[in-house]
Symmetry: C2
Subunit: 401 residues, 2 copies
């Protein structure tokens, strides 16, 4: 509409010049003023939220961070505002990646890097985030539009490309290495990579980049029938990489690309057993890296991890000892602004309890807290925490026999 208004201003100008009568020329000036007003009205658009310089904990309706900063007051987070220092890369802005991006944006993450080569279609409306009026925009452009409206404080970088091409992979790696956002950061330029893609090839590309850069990442997937999924945390050298453990289900004699169709995720996804929504079953397991992994960078990270182990253990021990001495400084509910504080300033007795186990004054608990029941459950639950892949295999053989 901006263009049309500009053209109209031009027409009015020409008309004015050709009019001999000053009263008519005054009428034209009045019209020009109207068009100029419309132009500024059009430019301002709907009221946008302004950038916020510092996160405030003030409990007022106009503070977009009040309920997040409250997590700090309640002892759930030690220093909420540090979130502004963190960069997260999200690969794949589909059903999983777009919602992860929106959540991080609303939380006030420092910087988001978004990667996708696809366009928004009406067929995507079965998932959250994209809106019908964004159809035909690239997913990255549409995401930047929505996310910057929600929270203009977040630094957004968007990469409209396929990371599995040679050129795309190079751009992907160099964007992750770029440290201009936080020059003094150790390691890569991002704190976490989220893989939210829908195919094996893209997962292997993320795996390769993260193994090379020693970058922690998370892998996710949804089954083709939409009723199950999985999440996996990958720390190079410390846990299994995506190439360490063979997928549960593998394509044999079929090209994945012929298997994958519109609206269907390839059946080769789960490398860990995942959540089954029909059975409400969500097992958890730990996977150590495979010393025979086919990924060379993974083997290098494994070696580094083993070499660094003694120093790491010593540092951890020292840190834990230091924290025991510091405990009195971590008093929960130090002020009483929420009227539900229970900590006695004079004693240390209640310091053992975590915030979620602590009850406000005047409240009585009638069932045991999760702590106790959890101990009961984990002592008997099978398939949680396996020491290594061998252990897992033995358990599976027992199940299959």
């Amino acid at each position: 509409m901006e263009v049309e208004l500009k053209e109209m201003l031009h027409d009015l100008e020409s008309l004015k010049e050709s009019l001999p009568d000053p009263s008519h020329r005054a009428s034209i000036d009045k019209l020009r003023l109207r068009v100029e007003q419309l132009t500024s009205l059009e430019k301002s658009g709907p009221a946008r939220r302004l950038k916020v310089k510092d996160m405030s904990a003030e409990v007022v309706d106009s503070n977009p961070y009040s309920r997040l900063m409250a997590l700090q007051r309640m002892g759930i987070v030690e220093n909420y505002e540090r979130i502004r220092e963190f960069s997260v890369a999200i690969v794949g802005i589909g059903g999983v990646g777009s919602v992860a991006a929106e959540m991080l944006t609303r939380c006030g993450i420092g910087r988001l890097l978004l990667y996708d080569y696809d366009k928004v279609e009406l067929a995507n409306m079965n998932r959250l985030f994209f809106r019908p009026e964004q159809v035909n925009m690239t997913k990255t452009d549409a995401a930047v539009q929505t996310l910057s409206d929600i929270n203009p404080d977040v630094v957004l970088e968007s990469y409209t490309m396929n990371i599995t091409t040679v050129q795309g992979f190079e751009t992907f790696v160099s964007s992750l290495k770029n440290k201009s956002f936080r020059p003094n950061k150790e390691g890569s330029g991002v704190d976490l990579v989220l893989s939210c893609v829908d195919n094996y090839e893209a997962r292997m590309a993320v795996n390769q980049a993260c193994n090379e850069m020693n970058q922690t990442w998370m892998e996710s997937g949804v089954s083709e029938d939409a009723v199950s999924g999985h999440i996996q945390l990958l720390i190079p050298g410390e846990t299994a990489c995506f190439a360490c453990a063979p997928p549960l289900v593998v394509a044999s004699g079929i090209d994945e690309r012929t298997l994958k169709r519109e609206g269907v995720c390839a059946a080769s996804l789960p490398t860990t057993m995942g959540y089954n929504s029909l059975k409400d079953y969500f097992p958890t397991m730990e996977m150590k890296p495979n010393p025979q992994c086919s990924n060379v960078a993974c083997l290098e990270r494994q070696q580094e991890y083993i070499v660094a182990k003694p120093a790491r253990d010593a540092a951890l021990k020292a840190k834990m000892e230091a924290e025991v001495l510091l405990v009195p400084e971590f008093a929960l509910h130090a002020d009483n602004e929420w009227s539900i504080s229970v900590v006695d300033d004079s004693g240390l007795d209640s310091m053992d309890a975590t915030s979620s186990d602590t009850l406000p004054e005047g409240l009585v608990r009638e069932l045991p807290s999760a702590d106790k029941s959890q101990e009961l459950q984990t002592s008997e639950a099978p398939l949680t925490s396996n020491d290594d892949l061998e252990d897992l295999r033995r358990q599976l053989e027992a199940l299959n026999s």
Copy 2:
């Protein structure tokens, strides 16, 4: 902007009448045409998705239901399009209710009834759904705006009011009873009520209405520190109602309203033990109704449930027997459009497997399916499925001693 454009048309008309020169009058006509074009451009707004008469399963990018109708093809849902007959009432359009509403809208639910008396604030931006430009709108108005843009096929009814006032409760009950959307429906005018409120009083109001109307509903809640929550299914007469089981944590000598502050949920929420995200602990339990419940309508529903038990058991038995005979008609993957079908048309052998356990041709499973592991787990897991409240109490006493 529409008003401004109309005024401009008026000004142009007046100017034209006062101009003697025909060429000048022609210029004015040209300007008028421009303004009229702007008016129609303004009216049309951003491209909106049109209503869809029938849900199609066609796999094309422009079909907003293609990936939902695929659930039917995959045997997850028997008749997806029936979703258009269902009405869901959502009480409380906050962090939980707004996302439930968006999910149901994207799924193409027939009709949504939305209840809230609050306004959107910047402080709500920590949760999904609302956008900063909606600040100061009522939550119901903002929700209708967003949801009707996402899916104009859904019938939206919004009630900007507090259901805990005498007037509000009456309107709430009569809106749930209204059957104009599906006149031949048995029982109330809705299929499900979702309680997504943040206080005890509102939960008791939903409980009262649903007990009176014999209406199935679901209750939800998030703890004040945001790291735990609960979900409860309530079927009047069959399961415990909200008044049947005393809350785990009860306010003693404190008015709930002084306890509850901006951005904080009252600490009296959980009637079932809920999800603890810090410990990733989500226990499940069944609660039978309390024969000493203080809610009179609940006692009536309990009586009806007991009286109807023999007939219900007989009907269930007959239905199961009929389904065994019908099995061949429920062949999964009957056509082969997705290239990943595995069912042999000639045999019944594979009919025992559910769709999520069935692997497409050419794929091999290397770990056991959830079925087997689930059997192992549930046989040993404590605190799942309790026969009645007494059982639960005995278990708790044992834990506490």
